[in-house]
Structures are given as structure tokens and as C-alpha cells.
């Protein structure tokens, strides 16, 4: 994707070695982050996040559906990511599909927790309306508008912001429906319930270049990576998911070290995002 000459590659690698990256950042520093919520009024919740030149939109739509027969007490959540050719001509046609799938799967893994629902950022049981009959289906869509590295972290943060922007209509279930009958529902268009997002983890990707790892890599830096580990971490400091990219193998002790570094960084990131999200919400209310 990004073609770099040998001299530039060495410059980037050398900068990471000396803890002074091409744009002057230290290894553990993020680019400026800005968040805007409510960008898609037709959705139940939405947000746009910009990290440097990377820009993504996330939207949350809630629809009533039937719970899965195997898990009658839970709602359903689906996460999809699309890479718009607007961001990169390479994503034209089916060109973005591979990356989209990779990002979707990684987000799913990072946000949805284990099969039993433990560690999930979204509490599926809170989505149930009538057990075994009606539940909310949450569709979370990410769209990459401009890409300059660190897409996964940006998408994770955008989804977190979109979820805190999400209002789910209050639903009244008519009593009396019995047996297999689908009960009547009354969806309120005035009363909305705020979604609880305190449990939604953040994703921190550590990109390993040479002997060191960096956060928030630009696409130029990503082209120099040997491998990258994306860790999703909850506010409590628990690991909620992890995936590794890049071909090079890693020593297990390095992985442990990366996880603890990621945990440390996640604390700052969570605080940063929280303040940005509440500022964005305040801005939106003003309008």
C-alpha cells in the first residue's frame, strides 16, 4: 500500500528506536483525537472519530427481532465494518473486503467477549424484551472514511462513542399473550433508555517495529511492522480480547510485556475518550 524507499524506512525505524517518531511523537503517544456524536440522525446512535488523518464513523441501529433458540434470554449484536473507496482507491470494488472482514472479526472478538457472554462490552441480556420471544437486535456498523493507520483502535473508540450516544426506545409488552403467540408490543417514540457503556472496553494496538512497540501507528509506520497485537481492555483492567496481526512470531514473554504495556496505556485512553465523548455529547445538546 505505502511504498517507501530504503532511506525512509530506516528513518522511521530509527525514529522509533530513538523514541522520536516522524511526527515528533513518543512511542506511547497518540495523535490528536476528536469525537463528534449524533452524525447519523437516522440511527439510534452514531459517532465520528478522527485520530490524526484517520477518520471512521460508527452507527448503532436497534431493531426488534426474535432471540436465538439456544439463548432465549439474550439479544443479538452484529458488527460489520466497511472500508469506503473514498478513503483509499484501493478499496474499490471488492478491494476492501479482506480488510473489512478482518476488522469486523477483530472487533467482534474484542467487544463481544466469550461465548457465554462473559467479558462482553455489551450486556446481551439487557437487550431482551420478552424472553424467548422478542429482543433487540443491535446492528453496529463501522465505515472507514479516511485511513491513515490504527483503524481498529479508531473503530473501537467510535463504537464506544456511538453506544453511549444510543437511545433505545422503551417497549411495552402487552400482557396476556401466552404460549407460542408473539406478544404485541408498543414502541415508545418519546421515551428512550440510555445504553450503559461503562463496560465497553477500549482497544489498544501495539505495533512492533524493530525491538520496540508503538501505539497509534500511521500507515507508514504500519508498513514497517513485524507484528501487531490488539488488546481490548475494560475499565477494570481486564483483558477482554486479543488478536495478533503480522507474520513474525513473538516470544511469549514479549507478548506478556505487550499486554501489560497495553493495560497501562488503556487507562489514559479510557479517560481521554470519556472526556471527549462527554464533550461531544454536550456539543450535540447545544445544537
Amino acid at each position: 500500500m505505502v511504498g517507501l524507499s530504503l532511506g525512509e524506512k530506516h528513518f522511521i525505524q530509527g525514529g522509533i528506536d530513538q523514541n522520536l517518531r516522524s511526527d515528533g511523537r513518543k512511542r506511547d503517544a497518540y495523535r490528536p483525537i476528536s469525537i463528534e456524536t449524533g452524525v447519523i440522525p437516522q440511527a439510534n446512535g452514531s459517532a465520528r472519530i478522527r485520530i490524526g488523518a484517520t477518520e471512521v464513523i460508527a452507527s448503532v441501529k436497534a431493531e426488534l427481532g426474535r432471540p436465538n433458540a439456544l439463548q432465549p434470554d439474550k439479544g443479538k449484536v452484529a458488527i460489520f465494518v466497511d472500508c469506503s473507496p473514498v478513503a483509499e482507491p484501493m478499496f474499490e470494488g471488492r478491494g476492501g473486503e479482506e480488510l473489512s472482514t478482518e476488522l469486523s472479526v477483530a472487533l467482534q472478538r474484542c467487544l463481544m467477549g466469550g461465548k457465554s457472554g462473559a467479558g462482553a462490552g455489551i450486556d446481551l441480556s439487557s437487550l431482551i424484551v420478552a424472553e424467548g420471544k422478542i429482543c433487540w437486535d443491535l446492528y453496529i456498523d463501522g465505515l472507514v472514511i479516511s485511513s491513515d493507520g490504527n483503524l481498529l483502535d479508531a473503530l473501537g473508540a467510535a463504537i464506544k462513542a456511538a453506544l453511549s450516544n444510543t437511545g433505545i426506545p422503551r417497549v411495552q409488552v402487552a400482557a396476556g399473550a401466552s404460549g407460542d403467540e408473539q406478544p404485541e408490543v408498543d414502541i415508545s417514540d418519546e421515551e428512550f433508555l440510555q445504553f450503559d457503556t461503562s463496560g465497553v472496553p477500549v482497544i489498544v494496538t501495539l505495533t512492533k517495529v524493530g525491538r520496540h512497540y508503538i501505539v497509534d501507528a500511521t500507515s507508514e509506520e504500519e508498513s514497517q511492522m513485524s507484528s501487531a497485537v490488539s488488546v481490548s481492555i475494560s475499565r477494570k483492567g481486564h483483558i477482554c480480547g486479543l488478536s495478533k496481526r503480522g507474520s513474525a512470531g513473538l516470544d511469549p514473554s514479549v507478548i506478556s510485556d505487550m499486554i501489560s504495556v497495553a493495560r497501562h496505556i488503556s487507562e489514559q485512553l479510557i479517560n481521554k475518550l470519556d472526556s471527549e465523548i462527554s464533550a461531544a455529547e454536550a456539543d450535540e445538546d447545544e445544537m
Binding site: 434470554d73 479482506e98 472482514t101 478482518e102 472479526v105 472478538r109 463481544m112 467477549g113 466469550g114 461465548k115 457465554s116 457472554g117 462473559a118 467479558g119 462482553a120 450486556d123 441480556s125 439487557s126 437487550l127 431482551i128 424484551v129 420478552a130 424472553e131 433505545i168 422503551r170 417497549v171 433508555l193 440510555q194 445504553f195 450503559d196 461503562s198 463496560g199 497485537v229 475494560s234 481486564h238 483483558i239 477482554c240 480480547g241 486479543l242 488478536s243 495478533k244 496481526r245 507474520s247 513474525a248 512470531g249 513473538l250 516470544d251 511469549p252 507478548i255 506478556s256 499486554i259 501489560s260 493495560r263
Partner: protein, 259 residues
Amino acid sequence: MTSKGGAAPSTYTPAPPPTYKAQRPPFFTDSDADWTRSDGRGFHQCRSAFFRTGAVNSAAGSAYAEFGNTKVIVSVFGPRESKKAMMYSDKGRLNCNVSYTTFATTVHGQGSDNKEFSTMLHKALEGAVMLETFPKTTVDVFALVLESGGSDLPVVISCASLALADAGIMMYDLVAGVSVSCLGRNLIIDPILEEESFQDGSLMITCMPSHYEVTQLTITGEWSTANLNEAMQLCLDACSKLAKIMRSCLEEAASASKD
């Protein structure tokens, strides 16, 4: 422990918080320390592994693996010339595909929700294969899960590395894959399908044991540091044991062909 995942947020509760105890599978409760696995294994005991190379005659290399009920066959074709449409590359390409037979699962067609397995297989192998030894060409790795009995992906990965070795593709090391499930407080290795469906979290490591390098690592669910480190250690130990079995399978095949 009951608070884990079960605690409904205070702000959004359209339904009364479900009681989790009742929902737990009958064969397992958090407090039940004496719980035994349905196949009688210990928590840290893997299923017995069976490997055989040369399962498909027409392929350049192939392997069959059986871990309990999980049965997998992998065939490797190539290296053959890359398609014209691909850009020039001085490295070889690895093309991986994982598919399920229609009868692999009890519910018809359920194996199809494992679309990402192909990319995961690719990622796990690419670090081990010496791609620079076959420039401009592609090696195809086709894995077929005959029966899905849990821990499918790690079995596929181990089996695929064996098939690559059988095809004579140069590798730095064999890749062995093992997964661990977390159920409540317990860590169980090499979970079967039933255990996987109730797991709170899972961790899969694929590694090159003699290099002591991890090629792929995925974690789902919530993990504390202590649990995580224990699980990783368990996996790594199991991987090196598994690699020994794989190695002996290859040696056997080699000596058999000599005779």
C-alpha cells in the same frame, strides 16, 4: 463470581436481570469444584492426538488429524505459478481455505459461521513458512473439517503444518496449536464442542515450539492477568508436547518410505 457478565447495568434494564445460576448448564456450576469433564479427562489433559500424513494421493502433501471427535484433513498443492492478476512478488504466496463438510456439525450447515478460520489459518502459518524459497508461486492449503468436535481451529493449524511438511515446503519449524477455555474459575485445555459452547473465554496459541515463538494468539472473553499467564503457559507446554507427536509422525512416515 456470579456478578461476571450477569450484572445488569443500572441504567438500562428493560427486563429483570435473569438469574444466571439457573441458566448454567446442568453439568457445571461455579461452585462445583469436583466437576469432571464429560469425557473423563483432567482439566489440564489434552485429548489423545492422532496424526497421519499422506491421506490424499493427488495432493503434493496431506495430513489427517484426529483429536477425539474432531477429525480434520488438510491437503497442500503447489508451489504452482501465481495467477496472472496477482502483482509481482519476490516472495511466495500462501493461500489458505478452511471448509466444513455438511455433516461436520449436528446442526446442518452450522460450520459456516467460521469464515474467519481461513484468514486465521493463514496468519498462523505464514510466519513459519519460508516464503522466500518459492518466489512468484502460490502454495494452496485446503483444510476440510470432517467432524467438528471442539478446538477445530488449533487442530486444523497443527494438521496443516504437518501437511506442509509432507509436501516438502520449507519451514522454520512445525506449528502446533492448542486452545484453552475458561469456565468460571477453571481453565480447561483442548475443550470439546460442548465445553466451548459454555465457555466464558477462550485463548488459542499457535507456536513454533523449537523457536519458542508465538505465531498467532487470540483471546476472547474477560481474563485477569493471573489467569491469562497461566493459560498461556498451559498452552505453550501443550504445544511443545503436541509438536513432539507431530515430529514422530513425520519420522515414522519418512522411515516407512525408506523401507
